[in-house]
């Protein structure tokens, strides 16, 4: 049974459909990457999974259990974490407080998880008493991922984690994503830096106009001349 599965998902905002039948599935030990042109519905799909918009047709299953249209706080309880693309930290809270908020539903975990997060993201330990709003973009992204990991999710949804970051930080974030995945957290992320993201992806989903255009392993998609021509800039 796949960890996270989406079957023929339709949905959108205010009656306008953006998703017109998306299918995906990832296992616990896999990194799934969603790529595609602007307006293809990549971020919308993540939001649909995380209960931030109504799924009008199709179903989303977490370990075989239907979860579509559950509110976000229920999904956090069921083991899902979400890192939005923008506004993904609490700017006036310190780094440590940001992380603590991630474990809001599991207050018993705070101590142990803080230690783990500081191990994965050492820069956060030095800045733990600084307000998150004062950090650089890359460090903020670490806080955002750390916050989501504090709840010990089984699957982590990342919306363009490297948007606006320098190539150096981009590689750093991808390294961390692999590390987190190796620790047993399934990852599903949307990425603009398609080549680099597909390189670390076990599964890739190329969306266009709210539908799967190509679905394969990351390596196969990278090698596919048609994908390269239409979506990876040649």
């Amino acid at each position: 049974m796949p960890l996270l599965e989406a079957r023929d998902v339709h949905g959108g905002y205010g009656g306008m459909n953006i998703l017109n039948g998306v299918n995906m599935s990832i296992e616990a030990n896999e990194v799934g990457v969603i790529v595609g042109p602007n307006g293809a519905g990549k971020s919308t799909m993540l939001k649909a999974i995380f209960g931030l918009l109504t799924v009008s047709q199709g179903e989303i299953l977490l370990r075989g259990e239907p979860i579509h249209n559950l509110p976000p706080n229920k999904l956090v309880q069921k083991g899902m974490g979400f890192v939005p693309q923008e506004k993904n930290v609490f700017p006036s809270l310190t780094v440590k407080e940001n992380l603590e908020m991630g474990a809001f539903l599991k207050p018993g975990n705070v101590k142990r998880m803080l230690k783990q997060i500081y191990d994965v993201f050492p820069p956060l330990y030095d800045k733990r008493h600084q307000p998150a709003g004062e950090l650089s973009g890359g460090q903020r992204q670490m806080v955002a991922m750390g916050r989501a990991l504090m709840a010990e999710p089984d699957v982590l949804l990342l919306d363009e984690p490297t948007a606006g970051l320098s190539p150096l930080y981009m590689n750093e974030i991808f390294e961390r994503v692999k590390e987190v995945n190796a620790a047993g957290v399934g990852i599903l992320m949307v990425e603009q830096n398609a080549k680099q993201a597909l390189a670390i992806a076990d599964k890739g989903f190329v969306l266009a106009a709210g539908k799967n255009r190509f679905t394969d392993t990351g390596a196969a998609l990278l090698a596919d001349p048609e994908v390269a021509k239409s979506f990876l800039g040649g």
Binding site: V89, N98, L105
Partner: protein
Amino acid sequence: MNELVFFINNVIVAGSVSGSIYAIGAIGVTLIFSIMRFAHFAHADMMTFGTFMVLLLTLAFPGVGAVVGLPTPIVMLPLAIVLTALLAVGIDKTFYKPLRAHGVKPIVMVIASLGVTLMLQGLIRLFSGTGAQNLYLAGERKEIYRLEMPFELASRPVIVTEPQIILFVLTIVCVVGLHLFLNRTRLGKAMRAMSDNPDLARASGINTNHIVAVTWVIAGGLAAIAGTLLALDVTFKPDLSFFLLLPIFAAAIVGGVGHPYGAIAGGFVVGFAETLAVFNWAVLLRPFRDSLPEWLAQAGNLAFVGTEYKIVVPFFILVAILVWRPTGIFKGKVI
């Protein structure tokens, strides 16, 4: 030295009294704004409601204070805090929550709160009558402490009353308590998190409805404290706190809306500005009478504004702040 004593009585003591009341009121306004993003105009009448509850409880159990050794209204205050907190949560459930569920603009919430304020005021008037009533019932005395100054030339004492001392103590307790709550407890941090970014708070599994309720409990409780302490210092009237609405909002905005510490600072800024503006500065010039030009030495009243225009002061501060520094001292949000 008597002039200095006069200054202490009329500016330092009086300013601290109004400053404390404004500060406690403004904390509530600013917390509500930071969680629900609207200016809650019914806040002042929540204060009056809390005071009215104290009055009713005091009338019902008049002898309790003597047993404990505190004024009866103070003994009744905790119960009134609970009742006002319940009222605040109830008002939210009945009036504001349905509006929030419809996703209305903040201005709709503001107008709704104006409706709530008129309704509360009418209800209180219906039961209390329109006259002023003393919270100290017959038989209980308002203690007045005269502190003699250790200077030879000071023949007059600094005067502080019992309710004023209780007010100062409770203000410190509220401020320290709020600080510890917001920075040390899980719920307090979640409240700050929701104020920062409500969507992310939800995505972290924080139940935002729960936080909203907690905010109302705190705001309602503080409103009851501020109203009661004001009424102890003066008397209870159905429009007791309505006229505090402007200074309280001025305090919240001066401090930076959404900043609890700013609200405290703003409260004292407005309180002292008021007392300094109506203070008769001619009194302080009196000892130097002989060395001053005649026109200055003869001046009978050198106050910036007459006492009857006290309400103009917070209004002026409010306009000045909105024009020159709309985010307030602590860089809050712009209403």
